[in-house]
Structure formats: structure tokens, C-alpha cells
Symmetry: C2
Subunit: 524 residues, 2 copies
């Protein structure tokens, strides 16, 4: 039933989120109408929404889109008048931004960053009393790795050599297979790395990138901005957002039959927004598929530390492919990692890296050139990326407190995920797969026809209608499923599991009350 | 004479650096040959230099290009065997990276950054003995400005509100005209801001951007990557790299007659690589020109603190346009600022901002959307950008030491610029305009015919030939003029003024000896 609905609506879906981007073709009528109204003040401005890059216009990024603007306006209301609404504050569950919701940074990481930012501290005796011994030692090591100890200089365009050595060693330890520091490109978070790959691989809208649906909207935004074509493959909600090779094959063949040259496959593991953790066997099949079909495997592995299901384990695609005996000559694999996620959640530091393997030397040179145009990633983020891949070890002064901080955050996240998942599954018409990993739940909401009609009357997608209602009633910000893509005719939203543990019961109460009232209003 | 040579060669030049970029046209034969040779191993790789984005392939970024790769190889040689070459070390004069050559960071800035990175320090009594009172106070202010004091959270996509307030106040103080915090977009250095504007304004290679020649190669690289058309205007070397309105008009008309839609004018003031500081009257003419012609004025003002000529003063284009009575409805102006330059030279922190004024609300919304796809700039860079626009003031504990550090750096840079300029002007066949500002000298070298022939035999541009010889003989890295653009038939190189003062005499000696030998070898 779900499948046939999917097939029926797929062509519609392909015309919206997965629209083909033609630089020189006439703009489609729907888009054109909205452009006309946008530029209706027929201004004296030489730059208007009608004459900017249409790829910019088309690009959408739901996690910071309309719903967030609405939330910011409500927040301003509350600032001016704390009793303006029936809630006291806005709870941002729209984005994986742990520290904005009260998560504390890992002490050891911040100690090292402070010492590297102001290395004069390293020479002062008072420093011993303020910082852990191993943070001082680590800061010395890092400062010594920087040519001329110049922590304020541009680094090598791939990042400081010594830090890349550390990261490569960390990958080696994680995987049991060595990593090459020359394959590491340090970046300002994972997003610029994703953009770099899309820029490299996209020649025109005949170039396609296979992306999961639902997907993290960075991918659709980046593909649109670079003028490429998003080729969707659907995760199977019924099997816990399973990634089926048959679906990959079907979508690849379908795209090829339309003349699309499919360049790469994006896999997000653990899944965003879907939270599933892939089984190693499934990953082997994916590697085999990419090898056979000549696809670059773009592995978004930024949630590798966020695993909550005891029976699940993260396996990097690098480890999986190497354990199959595949090396640089067999598969092109790019793995993205970030300091923003994991137990550290250092989003604001904008640190991350990509491990780039399997490109021919001349293509790799082009990757380096594009990195060099942006000079280098920020050094604080670079240092932090090395720290997350090489945290304190047994015997280090910080080890026990570090493990306590890390363990506390991860076990609490697991509890929060479970509590929210249970609450969601208790709501009428809502089903929610388990968050085995990552930071999100992506419940399916079966909306009554009456609600769908009311949404249509407001020119809103039904899930966006639901999310706006939720926000206005409770101050809770979640993102409509339509921003991530979903099987047409189904409706979802993404909710982070990040509010602090003591806040969860109140959130559950508010959400439950809202949902009951919503259903009472719209039940068919 | 110079002008006629310019005209004669201009069409050739337009076919190389300023090549038009056609997504769907056949690749030109010269490029195609080099691609074929690059991919000659006819590899099993599904991604080759022949099937990646041709805009990536075409993009060039000289300041980190071939010459730097060569230098890095020499440095590896020296590491393996210190007597491998006739020099002991590589002196990187290729890039404006002050701290890599020994410039020390400003103490106050680093104190504040360390405290913000590890705010737990703010609560400890020992901190008083280690940090200045005003750095502690400033760090408190900043941490309090961050929602939830979450220094590790993603911020608003334009940057933290309180920091934007501080920056706007700093701009207001600098200009005598107010700035709006909502017009500030904090970015990871100025480069991503430039990319964002090129991405916004470029629909196809029929969209042109007027750029100075010589230019900082970020502009040509970014225009190429975004598929646009660089429309050159030539600075007049004979009048100290003067920017003539007649030249702007001529090039604009020429481009329009070819069907190019010119969207924007880039002005770099103080000039990079040319070091001139524009006179206020000249700037007024430029503003008038942009207003009349409906061009966005992209003002690269990252060297605003680097002024060495006592008779010169920096005026922001914002101040100039506002003093002419022009507001948001009259001119679209984007000013770029960076923490990487000035007296601070904090390149590795990747901080900066753009002040965006005059766009219609719907276009401004698109700028915001593109910023939001990248989430936010790194917080450390954001904080630093606020500090450079609001340094210690009279009466603050750090004020005197801050002024001493700043003054010491700027006066030393002025001395170094003068010493290198004099040395260059003493070389046979070399003339060098004064560096009134910025961080570079861009001497013209009149190369003997014999040298030009030798370069041709090596398939090298004559200035690149000279620079490679210089590097191999002395370890000094400078960038060939051809990477920046120059009047065809003239040859230059860019050399930073950044080696520490005590190193300058040795550099002058090495350079002079090399040049004499070179001329002896090739003199006609």
C-alpha cells in the first residue's frame, strides 16, 4: 500500500524537492509566480530576486527556514512581553545544536583550546593550578607541531601536518586499518567539505547524486547550489529506515535511463534525520554497489560517536571497504567527520575533516586546489578535530573526568531519545522508529483529512501546518518532514533529542496536550 | 606606448586569465591537451580530470600555486639535508601571513579568546593574576552576549547579535555614520564572503564582474568557480596604480557591447597586490559611477589598518557614499573586512565580516539563506572580528601595551616596505611603486629578450621563470605577476613586506646578488 502510494506520488515529488536545475531553461511557472510577487515593488534596485542566480533562489534549507524565522519572532514577542504567549520560552528542537540547549563542553578540550589560543600561559607557573597536567602537555605538543608556533597563521591548505598525523592515527586506531595524513582535509565543519565534493563532481544538471530520502537538507541545498541533480533513494520506514540495495539499483537505473550521469552515493550513517545505524553486512553491500557502478561513496559519518542501541556498533565505510580487501584502486570514498556532533557537540567551533581516498592523483590535485582557494580551516577547529580523534587515554590526569563527562552526555542522550520516542508513539496516529544513533527522531504523523484541507487552505504543506501549530501553541520548534523529503502522501517531522533531561517531562506534556487538542479539532 | 601595447595584447589576455566560462561549450584545445595528458594513465577511476566540473579545472590561485609546491619540496629537501641547497631556509613572501614570519599576536585579543574558550577560568581567582582586568571584563561581556553563554553552539547565521552590535558601533565610530547590526554578516575570513557574493550575482558566463588588474587572485578564482566572466580594468602603474574612471567606463562599455551583463565592480583599497591607497575624491567618483551604472560596489577593505604613507588616510566606501548623501536606496555596497590583515594578522582564526547595504529586502533574504546553509562562522573568529572593531580604549588596563604592540607592528611594516622598495628600485631594470598601504610590493621587472626566450623554452611565463630561478637560488618565495594579471608584455612579481625587520638586510642582499647574476646570464 505504502509502496504503491510512493510510486504514484514519486513523479510529483521529483518535480519539487528533486527538481532538475536548468541554467538556461525558462523558469517553471510556479517558481516564476513566487518570483514575480517577491519583486512586486518593481524597485530601483539593479539586483532583484528576478536577476540573481536562480540556483540560489531554488535552494532550500529547512532546518533554518520559515519555522525558525517564526520562532525568532515569537522569541522577540516574549522578550518584549513575557506573557505574550501561553509558553515562557522557545525550545529549539529544530537543529542539532547541543550546547544551545545547555550541554556543557568537554573540559579537557576547552583547556587545550584556551592554552593554544594564548600560549603565553604555557610559560607561567600559575597555569599549573588552573589547568590539568595533560591539557598543558597536549597544548605544548600542538603548539610545537605548528611551524614557528604561529597559532595565528594560515596553515597548509589541508590543515596543520601534525594535527593530520594525529587524526590519521585516531582513524587507524578506530578502524584497525591505517589512514594516511595526506588524505585528511581539515575543514570548517563538515558542510564546506560536502560543498567541495558537490562542486567537484557537478558539471551540469545532468550530473546526479544519489541521496537518501529522508535526507539532511544540506545535501539537497548543496546539490541545488552547484546546479546538479538529486537522485533520491527511499529509506524503508517499515524496516526502521532500512537502506535496500534493490532500491539503490532501481533509482540508479531509472536516473540513467533519463540520461542522468550519476556520480556519487550519499550515505548518512548514523542516519539524519532517521537515526538508524547500518549493519556491517549492509555496508559491505553498499561498498560493492559503489565499486561495481563506479560511484563515489560520500559517507556522512559525523554521528559516529552517537550510538544508543546497545546491539548496534558504528563501522566506518573506510574500515568496511578495507576489510573487504578494497583499497585506493577499487573505490573512491570520502568520509566526513565533524566536531559539531558526537558527545562534544562543539558546533560553534566549526571544525571537521574529510578523509579522501581513491581519487586519481590529478583529481586529488584539484581537490587540493579548491581547498587552497579558501586558504585553510580555522585553527581552533583544526585543533579540536585532532582532540576528538585523540581524547585523553588511561593514565592521563583528565582521563576519568573526561570519561565521566562523555559517558554522562551519551547515556543521557540515550535516555532522552527513549523518553521522547515513547511519548511520540503514545500519540494518536503517530509512529516513531527508534533512534539507534544520531540526535533526532523522525515520527510519522497520520494527519486527518480535515487537517490536510486546512493546511491546503493556508497554502501550507500539511506537516508544516502541524509544526507551525505546535510552535504557536507550545514554543517547541521542530522541522516539517517535507524539508527532508518523505514518501509522498506521508507526513513527518524531525525533533532533536537535545533538550536537557530534566526538561523532557514538561516537553512531553506540552506535546501530548497539543496533539490531543489538534486531533480533537481536526479528527475526521 | 604602454597603452597601445595593452590594447594589442588585451584580446590575448582576455583569452587566458579572463577566459569566458561556458558550461556546455567544447573545451578549448589548449586546455583539452593538458587534460588529456593529465588523464593519460587512462585509469580505472570513474572520476577523472576529464569528467569533473570544468570550472574547478580552470580555476587558478597563484598565491598557493605551483611556486608554493616547489617551495614545499625544497623545504622537504632541507629538512632531510640542511646543506642540500645554497640557502638554509625558505622565506615565504608569497602570501600575507604575518604570524608565519614571526609577527606576534596582540596580547589583549588572545587573552579574551582564551577566556571565552574556557569560560570556567572567569570564575577562578588565579585568573586575575594571569589576565589583564579589561580582558576579563571583555570576556564576561562577550560570554554574556551569547544566548545561554553557549560558546560552543551554532550562532545566528549572521553571527552573534551582541558581537554584530559591537562591530556596527565600531564602524559608526570609524566612519562618523551609523551602521546597522542587521547589515553585518560574520564570515570565516573575507574569502567566503566574496564567494557568497559571486554565487549570488552570477547566473551564467554572461554575467560579468569588473575587477582591477592586477587583482588578488581570489577574485578570478571565485568568478571562475561560479561560472562568471571577469571584466578587467587596468590600474595605471605610471601613476602609482591609479584607478581611472575613464578606464572603468571604457571596459564597461566594451563588455556591454559584447552582451555581458556587468553586475558589480570590485575595488581593493588599499590595493592588493598594488599597495595604493585611494584618494577620497577618487572614491566619490567610483561611488557615482556605480550608482549611475547600476553596479554593486564590492569593496575589499581588509587592509584598512595597513596605511604607511603619512599623507594617506583610509576612507571606507560606506563613509564616502554616506557623506555624498547616498543611502540604501542609492547604491548597493558590500564592504569586506578580515581579522587576517591589519596589525593583528590573525589569518589562522578565519574571522571577518561583510557589511551588506542597499539590497532589496527579497535579495537580502537570499543572502541570509545562503549564509544559513553554512550554519554560521566560527565563534572564535566572530569574537576576534568584534575585538578588532573595538580594541582597548584610553583608560583600559591594556590600552598602553596594546597601543605599543599595534604601533610597533605598523611602524615596522612601514620601515620594511620602504627598505624593500628601495632595494627593488636599485635593481637593474626594476621599478617599484611605493606601498602606501596593504602588505605587498609589486615591482615591474624588465626582462631581457634572452630570458624571455629561455622561459618560452621551458614553457614558462617569463615572470614565473624569474620567480622559480629566484626561489631555487635564494629560498625566497614570491608570486609571478601573471597570477594577478598585468598589462600584457609587462612582467612583475608580488613580494610581501612581512619578513621580520632584522631579516630584511639579508633578504635584500640575497635578492640583489641573485638579480645581478640573472642579468649577467641573460642580459641582451
Amino acid at each position: 500500500m505504502r509502496k504503491s502510494a510512493a510510486d504514484r506520488f514519486r513523479h510529483l515529488f521529483n518535480r519539487s524537492l528533486v527538481a532538475s536545475q536548468h541554467r538556461h531553461r525558462p523558469i517553471n511557472p510556479i517558481l516564476f509566480r513566487s518570483l514575480s510577487s517577491m519583486a512586486s515593488h518593481s524597485s530601483p534596485f539593479p539586483v532583484t530576486a528576478q536577476n540573481i542566480n536562480p540556483q540560489v533562489l531554488k535552494c532550500q534549507y529547512a532546518v533554518r527556514g520559515e519555522i525558525v524565522t517564526l520562532a525568532q519572532n515569537l522569541q522577540k514577542d516574549l522578550l518584549a512581553n513575557p506573557s505574550a504567549h501561553s509558553f515562557e520560552e522557545i525550545i529549539y528542537c529544530n537543529i542539532g545544536n547541543p550546547q544551545s540547549l545547555g550541554q556543557q563542553p568537554i573540559t579537557f578540550f576547552r583547556e587545550v583550546l584556551a592554552l593554544c589560543d594564548y600560549p603565553a600561559l604555557l610559560d607561567k607557573s600559575e597555569t599549573q593550578g588552573l589547568f590539568s597536567a595533560d591539557s598543558i602537555e597536549r597544548a605544548w605538543q600542538i603548539v610545537d607541531q605548528i611551524p614557528g608556533r604561529a597559532t595565528g597563521a594560515y596553515s597548509h591548505s589541508q590543515g596543520i601536518q601534525g594535527l593530520r598525523d594525529t587524526i590519521a592515527a585516531g582513524i587507524g586506531e578506530r578502524d584497525g586499518f591505517p589512514a594516511n595524513p595526506d588524505d585528511i582535509f581539515l575543514t570548517d565543519g563538515a558542510s564546506p567539505a560536502v560543498h567541495m565534493m558537490m562542486q567537484l563532481l557537478t558539471r551540469s544538471d545532468n550530473d546526479g547524486i544519489l541521496c537518501p530520502i529522508p535526507q539532511y537538507p544540506l545535501y539537497s541545498a548543496s546539490i541545488t547550489l552547484h546546479g546538479g541533480h538529486l537522485v533520491p533513494y527511499y529509506l524503508d520506514e517499515a524496516t526502521g529506515w532500512g537502506l535496500e540495495i534493490s532500491e539503490l539499483k532501481k533509482q540508479l537505473e531509472d536516473a540513467r535511463s533519463k540520461g542522468i550521469s550519476v556520480r556519487a552515493l550519499v550515505v548518512i550513517n548514523p542516519g539524519n534525520p532517521t537515526g538508524q545505524v547500518l549493519a556491517e553486512e549492509n555496508q559491505r553491500d553498499i561498498v560493492e554497489f559503489c565499486k561495481k557502478e563506479g560511484l563515489v561513496l560520500l559517507a556522512d559519518e559525523v554521528y559516529q560517536e552517537n550510538i544508543y542501541a546497545p546491539e548496534k556498533k558504528f563501522h566506518s565505510f573506510k574500515k568496511v571497504s578495507r576489510s573487504m580487501g578494497y583499497g585506493d584502486d577499487d573505490i573512491i570514498l570520502v568520509s566526513f567527520q565533524s566536531v559539531s556532533k558526537g558527545y562534544h557537540g562543539e558546533c560553534g567551533k566549526r571544525g571537521g575533516y574529510m578523509e579522501v581516498t581513491g581519487f586519481s592523483p590529478d583529481v586529488r590535485e584539484q581537490v587540493y586546489k579548491v581547498a587552497s582557494v579558501n586558504l585553510c580551516a580555522n585553527i581552533t577547529g583544526q585543533i579540536l578535530a585532532s582532540l576528538i580523534m585523540s581524547p585523553p587515554k588511561v593514565g592521563d590526569e583528565s582521563y576519568e573526568s573526561f570519561m565521566a563527562e562523555k559517558g554522562g552526555i551519551l547515556s543521557s542522550l540515550a535516555k532522552r531519545a527513549k523518553a521522547l520516542e515513547d511519548a511520540l508513539n503514545n500519540l494518536e496516529g503517530v509512529t516513531c522508529n527508534k533512534a539507534e544513533g544520531a540526535m533526532y527522531l523522525f515520527p510519522r504523523i497520520r494527519l486527518p483529512e480535515k487537517a490536510i484541507k486546512a493546511a491546503e487552505a493556508e497554502k501550507s504543506a500539511p506537516d508544516a501546518f502541524y509544526c507551525k501549530r505546535l510552535l504557536n501553541a507550545t514554543g517547541i520548534v521542530v522541522v516539517p518532514g517535507s524539508g527532508f523529503g518523505q514518501v509522498p502522501g506521508t507526513w513527518h517531522f524531525r525533533c532533536t533529542i537535545l533538550p536537557q533531561e530534566d526538561r523532557i517531562p514538561a516537553i512531553v506534556t506540552r506535546l501530548t496536550e497539543f496533539h490531543e487538542k489538534f486531533m480533537d479539532e481536526f479528527r475526521d
